[in-house]
Each structure stands twice: as C-alpha cells, then as structure tokens.
C-alpha cells in the first residue's frame, strides 16, 4: 500500500482516516534519523497502515484497556528481570512497550539472510581459532586480537565440539541506519538471552490485541523453537531424550527465561550442582540416582562452567565438564569458548575474514570498528576521536572508558583525552574505536498518542539439520531517551514485540510434535534431586504458613469472643507463636491483637508469615518448570495478600480478615497443586513436605492444648487448629473431652487432618519413590514411618502424654532428615586450597 492507496482508503472510510490522523497527531520524527513507521514524506509507511487503522478504530480508551490487559498478563505470569545492582536482588517487572515493531517480509528476509551468512562466518572463525589457527598464521588476524579475550578458553584449544559445531544458538543486535540499511551492532555467541522474553512479549500482545494479531498475518514463533528443539534432541545418543538447560541459578538476571524455556521446550532445568561427571560422561543427580545427560543447552557463561580447568572459584559449574566436553562426552550448545567471537576487537577483522572464509564480502554491514592494538588504526582513532566511540576491545573492564565500557570521544574533557591518549600508547590493544551508529526510531504509546523512540533489535538464529534458521520476530529494546546513538541504549529499558508481516497466509505451528511422532509416555523424565528438595520444602513452608495462620486466627478469634487478654488460652497461643519465631520479643506487654498483626505483617520475624511465604516462593521460584502457572500465581497472590499495607491502627478484625484471606489462597494453592500436578515423583515430594510439616504442627498443638491440666476451652482450640470441629460435633454431642478429641486429632485414620492420616500418606508415598533397591533393606525413612504406624495403631488416646508428643515430633524431624539424606544433594562442595607458592 503506498501513499495513493492510503488516500483511497481514506476516501472509502473518512472516519477511519481521520482517526488514524488523530493517532499520528504530534508524531515528530527526529532530524537525520529514520523512523520505522513514518516515511520521509510524513506519511506512514504502507505496512504500518493496517495496524494504525485497527488501533484508531479501537479508540484511545479501548487501546488503554487492551494494553492494560497485556501488562496484567505479564505481571500475572510473573515475567521479571532480576536487577543485579538492586541491593535486595530485586526483581523488576517486565516493561512492555505495546506497539510492536512491524517489519515487512522483503526487508526481513534480507536481514535474515545477512545474519545467516554472519553466523556461518563466526562458526568458521571459531573452528579455525580453536583448531589450526591458520588465519592468524597467515596474518589475516593478529594473535593478540584473539588472546585478549577472556573467552579464548585455552583448555578447549585443539578440540572439535560434539556434533561438529561451536554455535547452535546465535543472536545479533542490529539497528537500522539513516540510509535504511540494517547494521549489526554486536554479536551474541556465548549464551544469548532474550528469546524467552520475546516469546512472552508475543503472548502478551496476542492477549492484548487478539483480533489485530490474527488478521495481521505475522510469522509465528513456535516453528523456530520446534526446529531448535529437534536439532538438539538429534544429538542425544542415549535415546532417553533428556536435554539439560544449564542455568547459573535463581539469582541470575534472566533466570525467569531459563525456567520458561525449559518448560516450553521440555528440557530439564539444571544447575551445576545437579550435574556430575563420572568417567567420560555427564550425569544429572535425580531421586532415582545418576542419569546420563548427553546434550546441554548452556545458559551459564563458559568461564564458570568448570572449577577444575576454568574459573577455579566458580561454584556454579560442574567439576570435569571441560574434560568431558573436550572428549565429546557431552554436546554443549553453545560449545565452551564460543563467546570468543563476541569480542569487538574481532569485528574489526570480519570484513577481511569474510573474504578469506566465505569467498565474498558480508552482505550485512556492521558498525565500523578499528582495533587499537595496531599502530595505524590507533593513530586513526585518535585523529577522529570526535566522531567515534571508544570501547573495550574484549568486553572486559578497561579504565578510562567508563563503567559501561564505552565512551563517546566528543564527550571527553581535555584531561580525559590526554589520559586516553596515554592509555592508547601503553595498552591500545584493550580498546577499539567504533563509528557512532545512528539508529532508527519506532513509535511507543505514551498515554494516548504515539512518540518516536530509538531502538535496537535482537534477532535469534538456531542451527538445525537444514542449516541456520532465523526466528521470525525478535527482541526489541527501546531507549527511554531520544538519543538515537546506538551505544546509549541501556539494559532494562522497555521492550517490544516484533511482527514480521507475512505476504501470505501463515500456517499455525505449535511445539507439539506432529501426531505420527507422538509416543505414549507416562513419565516426564526423572526428577532432579534439587527439584525434589525444593518441592519438599515448598510443601513444608506452605503448610507452615497455614499452621501459623490458623494460630493467628485462633488468637484473634479468642479475643473477639471477649476473652480477657491475660487468659491462659491466649497466653498459650502467644507462647506457641513465639516458639515458632512468629512473635516479636521486643514488645512485651503489648496487646495480643498487636501480636497477631505482627505475626501477619512483620518481615523481621523469622517465623512470621511474610518470611515463611517468602521462603515458599523462593523454593517455588527455582522449580517453576515443575508446576502449573496457576499454582505459581496462587503463591504470588499469597505474598501480595500478606504484603498489602495494613491500616495505621489495625484492629483484630483486620487481622482476622487477612488471616482468612490468606488461608483461602492457601486452600486454592493446595487444590491447584493436587488437581493440576500429575501424580509423579515431584508431586510426592511436595506431599511429603506438607504431610510431615502438618504432622509436626499437630503434635505441637496437641502438646499445648491437650496436656493434662490444660485450661478450660483448650480442647476446643485444638479442634479448631486441627480444623476438626465439625467432625467432632457430628460425632460427639457432648462437650469436648480429652480422649475423644485426641483420638480424632491424632489417631483417626479417616480424618484427613489427623496425625494418623498424615503418617499413612507419608508411608504410601515413601513406598513408591524411585531408586529403591529390592535386594537392599528398606531405607531408614521407611523404618521410621513403620515404627510410627505401629505406635499409633497400638496407642489409646487417653494414654498420650507430653513425652509421647515430643517423641513423635522427633520422629518426624528425623524422617525429614532421612529423606533429605537419601534423595537430595548432599553437602556443599568445597575448594581444595593451596597455601600459595614460596
């Protein structure tokens, strides 16, 4: 559609045209900078018109509502980006710019072809540098331009990666220059991030604009992931289809993405300590013992991957991984050392290397780069300093080029310029000069109109059997500032979805394999020990939160019944809460109501609800690939519920209300966990955690409220805490009596809240856990539970005393330890130190 047909459109529907005009009103492009939406003639480019028309038809109010829906989607699915410089290691909510970048097919195809060529070049370059290094020997590339990179991993020199490729996943940041051409700004070959966020942006946009995104005929993303997944599975020689996605862990800024990709592609999310090298192969520690892993999608930087041969101080890697990779015992995507070709220093030589390696110049240009390790180039850069950016040559920190590793020559003071000049003379090899790339702008929605903002686009490529494939879309990062110089884009600004507009109907693809390839599988792989550990503790924390809430509710309930604050029952409830660390020690004499509020709201109490729920969410956050998004949302809701500010003078009624609300969310979580989780090993560990914690809480309740000589009304509190009042009343018309109450709460195997019921469930789960050797005597955990069952069967309610409660609680604690010892990863790995050299 060109200008004329837009006019025709307007003739057909003058209202629509006027609405589009309104949307574009005040859109002021930057001088000397290209805009993606607006042509040089001041009219929108043809491929933007349908989108703008659709937006205009919705009207500002509806657009706001739609965009709000996208934000809600992102918030609810917990998309976040961890911010390192935040002291608390905070998570930043994902900021989506709601107007997608629209690219027409022809434009996209030439960009994609250029990137495929570039990927091929980088692969050949890696193969040479880790192999014969002929390019260096022939003088096409100075050895010093290679050796300066911390990603030139010397232990990997002389090896060919399993499967014959270094790169299997590659990304490039590109920007469009004023001339309309795409320019490569940087290469990502180590472990490119952003592809999961791109996926979430797409999902959010299809949530916000389902009608528009359906009619716009854009290329879909799923096929790309499917191809990549298939190519990785082809490398697996074990036939078990196990691919590990190796993550540095939950503290990593893009951990969310790691979990998302693992779930989306059906890979096992593993950390270094989940893996172990034995002989010439890599294994994952599971609850059923060590299981072979033959393919790893690596999201951990190579330097941290192996403390034996790479960074000895790394706690994130696997001892021996470099050795196993070297001998082909595992296929890594990308291979260790692939990060080498990210170095800006190498970019200076790519044009020359392309001719040597590909036999032709690169079709897609990159930002002009000069490595200052060479005298002539160094002089050039100093001479044209005003027009250039000076940056670190190898991505390492270099004094004098700022915290972000690059500085604009024109911004330097005379003194800084002298310092740079001196640094150049001594250590020019650490620096490159680069052209200042002017990048194009795209529209962002600010309130009720569109404004141009500069952006860079990250494009993702995957190696498949058929060669490199390009994800038809990308991850678009938008600068908050109007400075259109590429280097000014910062991390953590807003991002946008990218729509590659197809010229024909787009077939729907999903990640599901085509029907003829689906084999019936009842198990979804083996549960890694660490996941089991976290599921177990998630169960325990959630149950602990529930028990604490019940105590708080009982406390405020008593007070509401005008029980005096000094009554023995109130004191017992407070004592119990403080023995759990849920009570502050610093306000003795305060009213019990304030104690209740404190247990619900204060973050500094180790057993207070905010802390317990935080622990639950922390355990859950590292196993997000294991349970349903809805259950995760329930946890997020629970935390939100407890973190809602309280009124300045909270009353007991406020506390009651909040405890009720929190208990309802926990009930929802339990329901979602038990209904939506397959009855697999993971679910059993979650259950084991809950049952053990519930049993322990019951015993503590009983110890406090059913001891001989407990005050009047204590048994009623016990029934309330054990959620067994209704059952009791339906069974006994009489007033609470110790024997019947204890029988119901501890011994009745049909009461789902009783200790006996918990013990039965624990026994049932333990029996079917994997990794049991029928020829060996049963593990100690089973012997403990067998003894508990026998004890409970033989016991009569009246005979229970404090020693019995304590002994049973100790049994449960020991059981928990035994499960941990048998199934979870043991002991922190320690360094072997050396005293230093003489």
């Amino acid at each position: 559609m060109d200008k004329v047909s837009l006019a025709e459109d307007a003739n057909r529907d003058p209202f629509a045209a006027a609405a589009v005009e309104a949307v574009l009103d005040g859109y002021q492009t930057l001088p000397g900078v290209r805009d993606e939406m607006m042509g040089a003639d001041g009219r929108p480019r043809a491929h933007w018109v349908p989108f703008l028309t659709a937006l205009a038809e919705l009207g500002p109010q509806e657009v706001r509502r739609r965009f709000g829906a996208a934000d809600r989607y992102l918030r609810d699915s917990g998309v976040f980006y961890r911010v390192y410089d935040d002291k608390g290691g905070g998570e930043r909510p994902w900021a989506l710019s709601h107007v997608p970048l629209l690219l027409d097919k022809a434009d996209w195809d030439s960009l994609a072809a250029g990137l495929v060529e570039r990927a091929q070049l980088l692969e050949s370059l890696l193969a040479d540098l880790y192999g014969p290094a002929r390019l260096v020997e022939q003088g096409a590339l100075p050895a010093a331009a290679v050796a300066g990179s911390p990603e030139f991993l010397r232990p990997m020199v002389g090896t060919v990666p399993r499967g014959g490729r270094f790169l299997r996943f590659y990304a490039a940041d590109v920007g469009r220059g004023p001339d309309g051409r795409w320019w490569v700004l940087s290469d990502r070959t180590q472990a490119p991030s952003g592809v999961g966020y791109a996926l979430e942006n797409r999902l959010a946009m299809s949530r916000a604009l389902p009608d528009i995104s359906r009619t716009m005929r854009m290329d879909r993303l799923a096929g790309f992931f499917q191809g990549f997944r298939t190519s990785l599975l082809k490398l697996d020689r074990t036939g078990e289809g196990r691919v590990g996605l190796m993550t540095p862990g939950a503290l990593n800024e893009t951990y969310f993405e790691h979990a998302l990709l693992a779930r989306y592609m059906g890979f096992s999310l593993v950390e270094g300590e989940d893996l172990a090298v034995r002989g010439d192969a890599l294994y994952v520690r599971t609850v059923a013992g060590l299981k072979r892993v033959d393919v790893v999608l690596r999201r951990l930087d190579a330097d941290f991957a192996d403390p034996l041969e790479l960074n000895a101080r790394s706690r994130l890697g696997v001892p021996g991984l470099a050795h196993v990779a070297r001998i082909g015992g595992v296929a890594l995507a990308n291979a260790l050392g692939s990060g080498l070709v990210e170095a800006p220093a190498l970019m200076a030589f790519l044009p020359r290397l392309a001719i040597k390696l590909l036999g032709r110049p690169l079709a897609l240009p990159h930002v002009g780069t000069w490595w200052c390790g060479q005298g002539a180039e160094r002089a050039q850069v100093m001479e044209h300093l005003d027009e250039l950016v000076v940056a670190s040559a190898f991505g390492t920190p270099v004094p004098g080029v700022g915290r972000r590793g690059s500085v604009l020559g024109a911004d330097l003071t005379p003194q800084e310029r002298r310092q740079l000049s001196a640094a150049m003379a001594r250590r020019g090899a650490d620096l490159v000069g680069q052209d200042v790339a002017r990048i194009s702008t795209m529209p962002v929605w600010t309130g009720d109109k569109l404004t141009p903002r500069p952006f860079t686009l990250r494009v993702f490529l995957a190696a498949t059997e058929e060669g490199w494939t390009v994800m038809p879309g990308g991850f678009c990062r938008i600068s908050e500032r109007l400075d259109a110089r590429a280097f000014s884009i910062q991390r953590g600004d807003r991002s946008a979805d990218v729509w590659v507009l197809a010229d024909r109907e787009v077939p729907a693809t999903t990640l599901l394999p085509s029907p003829e390839n689906v084999r019936v599988r009842r198990s979804s792989g083996t549960l890694p020990s660490r996941s089991a550990d976290n599921l177990f503790w998630l169960g325990r924390y959630v149950e602990r939160a529930e028990a604490t809430l019940r105590l708080v509710r009982a406390l405020v309930g008593r007070l509401a019944e005008t029980e005096p604050a000094s009554s023995p029952l109130v004191l017992r409830l407070i004592t119990l809460l403080s023995s759990w660390g849920a009570m502050p020690r610093d306000f003795a004499g305060a009213s019990p109501g304030r104690y209740a509020i404190a247990a619900l709201t204060r973050h500094d109490l180790p057993g207070g609800l905010p802390q317990v729920v935080k622990s639950a969410r922390a355990a859950a956050s590292v196993i997000r690939d294991r349970f349903s998004p809805d259950a995760w949302r329930a946890l997020v809701d629970l935390e939100a519920c407890l973190n809602t500010p309280v009124p300045t003078a909270p009353t007991e009624a406020d506390a009651h209300e909040r405890a009720d609300a929190a208990l309802r969310i926990i009930a929802a979580f339990s329901g979602l966990a038990s209904e939506n989780m397959n009855r697999l090993t993971g679910w059993r560990f979650l259950e084991l955690g809950r049952r053990i914690e519930r049993g322990m809480a019951l015993l503590r309740f009983a110890r406090t409220f059913a001891e001989q000589g407990a005050p009047r009304g204590a048994l009623d509190v016990l029934l309330q805490l054990a959620d067994s009042q209704i059952t009791y009343r339906s069974r006994y018309v009489v007033i609470e009596a110790r024997g019947p109450v204890l029988d119901l709460v501890l011994l009745d195997p049909d009461n789902p809240r009783s200790l006996a019921f918990q013990v039965e469930r624990i026994a049932a789960h333990l029996r079917v856990l994997p990794g049991r050797d029928p020829d060996e005597p049963p593990p100690r955990s089973e012997r403990i539970i067998a003894r508990m069952r026998a004890d409970l069967t033989a016991a009569t309610a009246e005979s229970f005393d404090i020693e019995d409660f304590d002994a049973l609680e100790a049994d449960l604690a020991q059981l928990s330890d035994e499960i941990a010892a048998h199934y979870f990863i043991q002991g922190p790995a320690a360094d072997v130190a050396w005293p230093g050299q003489g």
């Binding site: 290679v146 010397r154 050795h323 650490d430 050299q837």
Partner: protein, 302 residues
C-alpha cells in the same frame, strides 16, 4: 645439574570426603634450553579411582584425578629426576628496546603456547593496576633495552619488598602486595607481571622448585622449602622468554626447576579441586630438591 625432587602434599580433612575431583599440575616436563626430565612419578594415597594424564595448553603436564572412596586424608606424592642446563643470561644491554618489543608482541602471528600474546593481558590473578604500572614505568623508558628495564624492576622488588611468608595467601591480588610492600614469591612474580603488562609488555608466571640445599659456602635461597615461583619476560622474537626471579633478584639458572608455565598462578595452581565434604581442611607440603652427586644410576632389575 641433576636433581632428585620429592614433594609430598598432605590434606587432612575435618570429616569424611565422599567424592573428590582434582586437577594436578605437579610433574615437570622437558623444557628446551632449560631442563630435561629423566623420570617422574605421581601417586596418591588412597589410590585414585580414575587418573588420566595429559598436557594443557601451555604444555604443562596435567593429571585429572577422581577419588570416590571415602577418605579423611589424602597424600599426593611426586618424585622426579631432572637435569637442568640453563641457558646463560644474554647481554642485557644488547636486548631490543621496550617500545620495539611491545609492537613486536602485538604483531605476533603465533597463537601457540609460547606466543608472547598470552602474556600481554590482564588475567585472573593479575588484574592491571595503575599504581603498579606507574611504579614499573620508572624503570622502563621506551628506548631502554627490555632486559635492562626488567632487571631493574626485579631488583627494585627485591629491595623494596619484604619477603614475609604468611603475610599473604594464594588469593592475594598484586595491588594488595604492592601496597603492603611484602609477600612471598607468588606476590613478587605477580607484581612484576602486572607492572610489565600495564606497559603493554608481555610477561608470564612460572611455578617450580629451587634447590633446597645451597652449595657449600652459599646462603640458602628464599622459597626453597615450598614450591617456588618467578616471572618470565618476553624480550622479542630472538631472545624469547627470559626468566627472572624477583624473590632472589637473580636470573633463572641452574638452581631453578620449572614445573608449570601460565599467565598467572591460576593457570598453574598445583591443585585445583572440589571435594564434597563438611569441615575445614588442613594442608601440609613438603619439598626436597637435592642435587644428585653421582651420575644417575639405574636400579638393577629385581
């Protein structure tokens, strides 16, 4: 000079170690122009369940070791016999100029283990430090012969720094030792390397041994009761790498036995390993470097 070298390294752990994986860089290899290894052996107690030998990027002997029998004590013993014939130090004044050497290293077309390019950049244990660089620059005028300049840096370290075992440890960074003006051989080598690299020159780290017992009438050299360390400076294509020992302010000669070469300590650490255990561990190292007076005799076959 023929040497008989024995090293015993003992780890005492606070508890039982169930699995240990380690990399050892503890056996010398032939170094043209310096030493020839006649024999060497490496053994552990308890015995390793897996042991594999290889050569790393820089040409050092490396052993990958797995122990999967529970143990609370590990002893690593090495024994080697090495003949040292050091190349005499060339005329320091005749070496090429500092500036010339810097450009020659940058222009190198060699990416192999002995290339100067590996010694040019900051490395794990040797970050560059402006203070050390400026201090080193005082000796390294651009038109001064490289070896004369490096020799002076070595001597200044020897006179200005106190040799003080225990003042630093294996993780001490060069700028800390530089500020304190004290340390041990590892610190001195690191400071020297950091300063030269700061000026764009190429320098690397060598771990090795010194003869324990001095020749009659001579003083015992510092650093001889443990593994020793010194620096090598690249002096242009013709001279190549020249070893200088700042702890003793001498050129590397017939008293030095080379164990491993790398960019810094991290590349040549005698042991890198991870154990799964709780509790502290204690380490003792014993080194004995004894000149063999008589020609090497082969024991009769028994």
């Amino acid at each position: 000079m023929l040497y008989d070298i024995r090293q015993t390294t003992t780890y005492l752990y606070g508890g039982q170690v169930r699995v240990a994986r380690q990399v050892l860089r503890m056996t010398p290899v032939d170094r043209p122009h310096h030493q020839h290894v006649l024999s060497h052996s490496l053994s552990t107690d308890p015995a390793a369940s897996e042991m594999e030998h290889g050569i790393d990027f820089f040409g050092n002997a490396i052993a990958w070791l797995t122990l999967d029998t529970p143990h609370d004590r590990l002893e690593i013993s090495t024994h080697s016999r090495v003949e040292v014939k050091a190349t005499p130090l060339p005329d320091v004044q005749a070496s090429p100029m500092v500036d010339e050497v810097r450009e020659a290293a940058l222009a190198s077309t060699d990416l192999g283990p002995n290339s100067p390019v590996h010694g040019l950049y900051a490395s794990r244990s040797v970050p560059l430090d402006p203070a050390i660089t400026d201090w080193t620059a005082e000796s390294c005028a651009p038109d001064r012969p490289i070896l004369a300049a490096a020799w002076e840096v070595m001597e200044r370290i020897h006179t200005e720094f106190a040799y003080e075992p225990g003042a630093t440890d294996v993780t001490t960074l060069p700028h800390e030792a530089f500020l304190a003006k004290r340390g041990v051989c590892q610190d001195f080598a690191h400071v020297m390397i950091a300063g030269l690299r700061g000026l764009g020159l190429s320098a690397r780290y060598v771990s090795g041994y010194l003869r324990t017992v001095p020749p009659a009438g001579q003083e015992r050299l510092a650093g001889s009761d443990a593994t020793h360390a010194w620096a090598e400076v690249w002096c242009g294509e013709d001279l190549g790498w020249i070893g200088l020992d700042p702890t003793n302010a001498i050129a590397v000669g017939n008293d030095h036995i080379i164990l491993a070469i790398g960019r810094d300590y991290a590349d040549v650490a005698p042991v890198d390993g991870v154990i799964v255990a709780s509790g502290e561990h204690l380490l003792a190292v014993g080194v004995d470097v004894v000149p063999v007076e008589r020609p090497y005799a082969v024991a009769p076959a028994s």
